[in-house]
């Protein structure tokens, strides 16, 4: 365990013992108990995967552990509930974000289908004949939708295209989803046709021929467009894709195919990949999906800011770790299900108030805020207070977001700033606000402060915009009467102002007065927006308590960022190397003592091999390696085998056993080498140097 954990969150001694005992079966790659002693804390990161189904192995029989187990089960239950909620919310958000573009694409598909049909609807014999129907030069063009995903990682959008396919299918189109794997040079154009036929005809046919598709289309009632979706054209083999396009363009009147292609980078991508004769066949249209930033904002809003799960870091690993280490996290279940009578529920879960208090007093936040009474009522009160404060915080953050939305204020930045307890505690925010009013200050100081930016934006708004904004605020703050009242007040003021100004506009005024009145109106609106700005400033100051400043926040706030970071970065190769070299710490077997450095035959083969490989340079002679491996495996008595003299020892050994086990040793050797190659520590011998394997990893 990283030492930082002890500082931040309060694992009790029981808890620590528990984790030490029971962590091991959960590791994919096991971790030694004393590992922290010889390694820096920076290197301990490893993705922990907990096998939730077998979540409670009972190693020790004492009662406390049993209790812990029970608690653990509850926690895991809570985890699953919370996580499933988060997951479904994210999915919903992503779906909603795409609906606009999807319906856009769908109308375009139907439009282009109509255009194709207007060129002529061939009869059955015509549609299946081999020679093309030529009407005019434009009739060979293929309608193509280029969907810009705005994200270099095409992997993120695989699901999007699947959804798009489903959406179009639901609207009655024939849809086939192709990926770049269908457009490889190896399979040629036959490969993509085959997968196309497989998806449309539900059967695989040996010579994949497009005329089959034509007859199939005629046999279906040919009133629906055929949509072919290609996920990522950047990865497609250009020549195959262009063959495919040329072929489709020959048949476009007979089979009204509409292509939809995902473009991860820029519109230049098709230009770079396809030759001009294929490009000529395309009649491209452009669609844009939401950028990753927009999606992120939407997810942040739905999962973190809005009450979704009550949890603050929406990452699965964080979530798991939190539930694993935090005894009180069961309460989240109640938070998520939004019930008020918290305490009774908790008691139902088998946590007595005393236990809760014991845990609670270990929270640093509660030591700061002194609570006197240890009753369940006060506990309930504390929790409801917690909830109330959080709601306030939410409302203010959303207000700020709405303010800055048009001006590229990103919710993520806003969120980061809003949950930062330091700026709140130090009152830094207030000073910045003052600095804001002083225009002389350099912009670099202000740049990072998104909240200030949003507040400044309020000042610049015109009356109409202000009205809109205030209405939005009003909606957002419905649950919080204090803020809502103020917003309403301001809104009514604005309405009065509006009425006045419109009246003024209507009345015929002498010309010399108009300028002054205009000036007045401007001044009025100025003062109004100032008022609004003051309001939001005071909202930020008074109601936006960062979560970490609220007592009990440890229940739902995961703060051990270092751990999360380590888990995310991962350092697999290093980990594997360490585990191979210091396997005793993991296996804890009796046969190999960790104290001696000698290589013993009882050790794991791969481990022996890797240790032996340490003695070589970047090239390892396979024969030498094998010989030394063999000598170690064969001689159980020798302590440390000198590598220079493996042969005499071997002769000394039992001859029959040697000849008999020769094959098995070779097999073990081969397996170990393969394992090393799979783990990426070794490169297999090349054709040029068949006797040498190449070491890839050096040092840790």
């Amino acid at each position: 365990m990283a030492p930082s954990l002890n500082d931040d969150s309060p694992p009790s001694t029981i808890d620590e013992a528990f984790t030490e005992n029971n962590l091991q079966p959960f590791f994919v790659l096991q971790k030694g108990p004393s590992r922290k002693s010889d390694r820096k804390s920076s290197g301990t990161g490893r993705t922990r995967r907990f096998d939730l189904s077998s979540a409670s192995p009972k190693n020790s029989a004492n009662i406390e552990d049993e209790k812990e187990d029970e608690n653990m089960n509850l926690r895991m239950e809570a985890f699953e509930f919370v996580w499933s909620k988060i997951e479904s919310t994210i999915k919903d958000v992503l779906r909603v974000i795409n609906t606009n573009v999807f319906s856009e694409i769908q109308t375009w598909v139907h439009q282009s289908f109509d255009t194709i049909r207007s060129l002529g609807t061939p009869e059955f014999p015509e549609a299946t004949q081999s020679f093309p129907i030529i009407t005019d030069a434009n009739s060979k063009r293929l309608f193509t939708g280029l969907v810009l995903t705005k994200n270099m990682e095409f992997v993120d959008d695989l699901l999007t295209f699947e959804e798009l396919g489903k959406h179009l299918k639901y609207q009655g189109c024939h849809v086939a989803n192709l990926s770049s794997l269908d457009f490889t040079a190896k399979n040629g154009v036959g490969g993509c046709l085959r997968s196309l036929l497989r998806q449309f005809l539900m059967s695989s046919l040996d010579p994949a021929d497009i005329s089959i598709l034509a007859s199939w289309y005629r046999e279906e009632n040919c009133n629906n467009p055929v949509v072919v979706i290609i996920d990522d054209i950047e990865r497609c083999c250009g020549s195959v894709l262009s063959d495919f396009i040329l072929m489709l363009s020959e048949w476009v009147i007979k089979i009204p195919v509409i292509l939809i292609m995902g473009v991860a980078t820029t519109l230049d991508a098709p230009r770079n990949i396809l030759p001009s004769n294929a490009l000529r066949c395309l009649c491209p249209f452009e669609f844009t999906l939401g950028t990753p930033a927009e999606r992120m904002d939407a997810v942040v809003e739905a999962v973190l800011v809005k009450p979704c799960s009550g949890f603050i870091i929406g990452h699965k690993i964080a979530c798991t770790q939190h539930f694993y280490t935090e005894p009180l996290s069961v309460i989240l279940l109640e938070f998520a299900s939004e019930e008020d009578n918290l305490v009774f529920e908790i008691e139902r879960h088998g946590l007595s108030p005393e236990v809760i208090w014991k845990h609670v007093f270990e929270f640093p936040s509660c030591q700061r805020v002194k609570l006197n009474k240890l009753t369940s009522e006060s506990l309930a009160h504390a929790f409801s207070e917690l909830k109330r404060l959080q709601n306030q915080w939410r409302a203010v953050v959303l207000c700020l977001y709405v303010t800055g939305k048009g001006e590229k204020v990103r919710l993520l930045d806003l969120f980061c700033e809003a949950i930062d307890p330091e700026s709140y505690n130090q009152g830094e925010f207030d000073t910045n606000m003052k600095a804001e009013k002083d225009p002389v200050l350099s912009s670099s100081q202000i740049k990072g402060h998104v909240i200030c930016k949003a507040v400044r934006l309020v000042r610049d708004l015109s009356t109409a915009q202000l009205g809109k904004l205030l209405k939005m605020w009003e909606n957002l703050t419905v649950g919080i009467p204090e803020i809502n009242g103020k917003v309403k007040e301001l809104l009514s003021l604005l309405n009065v102002e509006d009425g006045k100004s419109s009246k003024k506009d209507l009345t015929v005024t002498p010309r010399r007065h108009t300028s002054r009145i205009q000036l007045n109106i401007e001044k009025d609106s100025k003062s109004l927006s100032d008022k609004a700005a003051n309001l939001i400033e005071c909202m930020v100051r008074d109601y936006m308590h960062p979560t970490e400043c609220i007592p009990f926040h440890e229940i739902f706030c995961f703060k051990d960022v270092d751990k999360l970071q380590l888990a995310l970065i991962g350092d697999p190769r290093r980990g594997i190397q360490v585990d191979l070299l210091e396997f005793q710490k993991l296996l804890c077997c009796r046969c190999c003592t960790s104290s001696s450095n000698a290589l013993l035959p009882s050790m794991h083969d791969t481990s022996i091999m890797y240790k032996l490989a340490q003695e070589h340079g970047d090239l390892i002679n396979l024969h030498d390696w094998y010989q030394s491996f063999k000598s170690i495996v064969l001689c159980p008595n020798s302590k440390r085998k000198p590598r220079q003299s493996p042969l005499p020892k071997k002769r000394k050994g039992i001859k029959e056993a040697e000849s008999q086990s020769e094959a098995s040793i070779q097999a073990r050797f081969c397996r170990a080498v393969t394992e090393l190659q799979i783990t990426g520590l070794l490169r297999m011998p090349s054709k040029r140097r068949p006797d040498f394997a190449q070491r890839v990893a050096f040092g840790l």
Binding site: D136, N138, M152, P207, D209, E219, E250
Partner: protein
């Protein structure tokens, strides 16, 4: 009902199917179409010669020549190779000539038939009047992969068809019944140049050219259509070379005639062509390219007009010309025009308006923003790949080693004539070679250098991230992932392995523009590190 039928028809059934063929179709597929001998013709009203000639402006001599080579009814012919640039009317003319003559022919395009098997089977299917349908699970009439099998089947099928044709020509006047004339069958092979890319091109091409001799049937005529000239095919293996028939590119006048056909407002379109045709002809004479460009340009041209039917006068023409002129230049350079949906565009316009309406500091940044998302380390990696590709490897030390930078720059001597020449030669050579390749190690080294430099100059969050905990070790594992996704996006191309070192080499395909944009988004002084020759 067709789908119900299909599972019952097994493979074996399809193989021995020719006997039961008619039975299945007549009973189970009432709506299915049974092809007859009529399908070998064009199946439309035959064209008169005048109509044929007038529908193809500028192709008069070619049509007459083709008619002459095909000869009168029932006369044997030599193979013909029709060739010429893309979009010069080869296929259309050939097909319409057959429509005019109303003779039976078999057409197969080598684009659609992308392998010998499909080519053979498609020809046999047509000759044996076979349609693929769900009734026999879309199988071909015969399985045929080898040329020798093909010849046997083809001969069989042709004899069958010929007797059919002969029998029918005796009976009724063919014009009335829609049956094709004569007792010749013509095989048309379109897009012959594609065969050269096939695996078995070395055997298939001579085989096709030789088909006439192999079949020894005077009733079969062969016509090849190709984009490339005959020189690219003949291998001197001793077969009768087909008679070449060249389709030259259209002249400007021909193009005018072509585009003037079927225009509703011919006067307006004529004035439009006056403006655009000449500049475009200098760029391309391919009808399909021009048609695509003109259709959108004409929309712009007639935009200011309220009444599209009006015949323009001189003054109006001038006005329209000044309106269209800026669009012509841009359209000339653009072969691939991407249109976006009007609805979507309106939305984005609104958004941009919104941003413009208020005063924001960030607007300036919009111009040089890359319009897709990339992670910071991917950006740095792309820049380092760009540098590795552009700069010679020998310069790396002086560029990235802080001690070596200044003095290498100062040492500039006046170059002699000879060295100048040499330099120019080297420059041109580099231009021809394109961006250089580099091994992974060099890329990572440069990446390390520029990320550490960025730490010094920038106090941004990303540079902090890079230094988190023990240098960039944490980052490195991610870097290889980023590299693979850059490869996926075609920004970095993974080349073959170097014969000397045995390791994979990479190169970048990004333009300097994009690299500069990326650098700007990181505030990285890319131009300082680019070696200018």
């Amino acid at each position: 009902m067709a789908t119900e039928e299909s599972p019952q028809v097994t493979r074996r059934a399809t193989r021995s199917y020719s006997a039961s063929n008619t039975a299945i179709e007549s009973t189970n597929l009432p709506e299915s179409y049974k092809p007859t001998i009529n399908d070998l013709g064009f199946r439309q009203q035959p064209l008169r010669l005048e109509d044929l000639l007038s529908s193809f402006p500028g192709r008069r001599s070619q049509i007459l020549e083709l008619l002459r080579l095909l000869g009168p009814l029932n006369s044997p012919m030599f193979p013909i190779l029709v060739y010429g640039g893309p979009s010069t009317g080869k296929t259309s003319v050939t097909l319409q000539v057959f429509r005019h003559l109303n003779r039976p022919f078999i057409y197969s395009s080598c684009i659609t038939c992308y392998s010998p098997r499909i080519l053979f089977e498609s020809i046999l299917n047509q000759l044996l009047f076979h349609r693929k349908d769900s009734g026999h699970s879309y199988s071909s009439v015969k399985r045929c992969e080898r040329p020798s099998d093909f010849v046997n089947y083809l001969r069989e099928a042709l004899e069958n068809v010929l007797t059919n044709l002969k029998g029918n020509s005796g009976k009724v006047s063919s014009k009335m019944s829609g049956r094709p004339d004569g007792t010749m069958v013509y095989l048309v092979f379109d897009n012959l140049e594609r065969i050269r890319d096939w695996d078995k091109s070395s055997t298939i091409l001579p085989f096709l050219f030789n088909l006439n001799d192999i079949l020894k049937m005077p009733e079969v005529g062969l016509i090849f259509i190709s984009n490339t000239s005959p020189d690219t095919y003949y291998l001197n293996i001793g077969y009768v070379e087909p008679i070449p028939l060249y389709f030259p590119d259209y002249t400007e006048d021909d193009l005018r005639h072509i585009f003037m056909a079927n225009q509703t407002n011919s006067r307006l379109y004529a004035s439009f062509l006056d403006v655009v045709l000449r500049p475009f002809c200098r760029v391309t004479r391919q009808v399909d390219e021009l048609a695509a460009a003109f259709s959108s340009l004409f929309k712009k041209y007639s935009e200011p007009l309220s009444d599209k039917e009006v015949a323009p006068n001189e003054e109006m023409k001038r006005r329209l010309f000044s309106h269209i002129r800026p669009h012509i230049a841009s359209a000339l350079n653009e072969t691939f025009q991407v249109r976006s949906q009007p609805l979507l565009k309106a939305e984005t316009n609104e958004e941009t308006k919104k941003t413009n309406s208020s005063r924001m500091l960030g607007i300036r940044e919009d111009f040089d923003k890359i319009d897709f998302h990339m992670s910071t380390s991917a950006k740095y990696l792309l820049i380092s790949a760009f540098l590795a590709s552009r700069n010679p490897a020998t310069l790396d030390a002086s560029l990235f080693d802080s001690t070596g930078v200044s003095d290498s720059r100062k040492r500039k001597r006046k170059a002699s004539e000879k060295s100048m020449d040499q330099k120019e030669m080297a420059e041109q050579e580099l231009l021809m070679k394109g961006p250089g390749t580099f091994p992974l190690e060099r890329l990572l080294a440069i990446f390390q250098c520029i990320t550490s430099l960025a730490e010094d100059s920038l106090d941004e969050e990303e540079s902090h991230e890079l230094t988190v905990e023990g240098g960039s070790r944490g980052l490195m594992s991610d870097v290889l992932l980023q590299l693979s996704s850059l490869c996926n996006a075609n920004f970095i191309i993974k080349g073959g392995s170097c014969p000397l070192e045995g390791s994979t080499r990479y190169r970048t395909a990004v333009s300097e523009d994009l690299a500069l944009k990326v650098a700007r988004s990181l505030k990285f002084p890319l131009s300082k590190y680019l070696y200018r020759r």
